[in-house]
Symmetry: C3
Subunit: 140 residues, 3 copies
Amino acid sequence: MARAASPYPVAVPAEPTQAQYGVVFQLDSGGDAAIKKTLANIENLLKDPRLKGKVTVELVANSKGYQVYDKNNGFGERLLKLKEHGVILAQCANTLRELHVDRKALYPFITIVPAGVGEITLRQAQGWAYIHPTPPSLME
Amino acid sequence: MARAASPYPVAVPAEPTQAQYGVVFQLDSGGDAAIKKTLANIENLLKDPRLKGKVTVELVANSKGYQVYDKNNGFGERLLKLKEHGVILAQCANTLRELHVDRKALYPFITIVPAGVGEITLRQAQGWAYIHPTPPSLME
Amino acid sequence: MARAASPYPVAVPAEPTQAQYGVVFQLDSGGDAAIKKTLANIENLLKDPRLKGKVTVELVANSKGYQVYDKNNGFGERLLKLKEHGVILAQCANTLRELHVDRKALYPFITIVPAGVGEITLRQAQGWAYIHPTPPSLME
């Protein structure tokens, strides 16, 4: 049976109009599931045909999100691949102090910023988008 | 007893100054509670007297958030009402592929976008606000 | 052993270029842990040397986030200190009606806004950044 024509014309996806885009991702939760979801989101963004080669991404980790940069957690290869694509990997200095995390426990190729929330503020003021994925939950 | 005058003058709500506003909502969690909270947020936004008739909304679903558009989950009527108010209902194509969701399991009146995070990026670059409600949790 | 020079030059933190910044924080979750994390985030932002004295902050509470303003929950002193730093403390009116919260149960020095999501929309349209911390979870 043919589907009836929809009375609601389907909208079209947004189209790129700028030469360059910036996006700051926030990761402020720990645990493998939260980290993997955020990294996959960034990887998908870099592959979006509308933005490919036109988007600069920064990942800002604060609170338990620092775990993404912990050498013991196994995300090094994936992070380096992102870095090769120009992704800035930023870690909140307040978090290191408050959660007693040794800088040396984290990969050397990250950037320490005074406050993760300050970094996010400055990037948005520069016109960058902000995306904060929600960690997977037991309720979904 | 009369309340003493506050030493802190109460601030006033923000006032609209633009003719048009855009807002992109992200839903990347599944489960009825998360979905209902997001839809209620959008409905409340459309009724805010400061923005009524001046705001274009897009709901971008990715990750488990696709469930809002699943025909089996019963949100069709509420979604169509939003669509009548001009809300764009967008679904991330990566999610469909990664979670093995059949496009036909979702309502026909939605818009498929290459990457949900790409769509959110493009909308913010157009000057739209971004709002990402937090799913209800067992800890609150 | 000396660490080999990294093939990936480390990026530098974002630098302030504006005289003034605005940031709207959203709190739409209840529970002490979520509230404390959000307040700590705001306190850290105000102390970021890149933004100190240049940033106006608004905290918008909706959904269970109203608990931050409940007189029974003990955040009064911390909120007043934020208010002294110019932080606008805003509460969504829809939430009060929908969750049957008496305005008098909340501190008198807050500002009621028609819709929390409307307030967030208007602030972002004014060029303010949006930051929505994720509540701590049992999975991290």
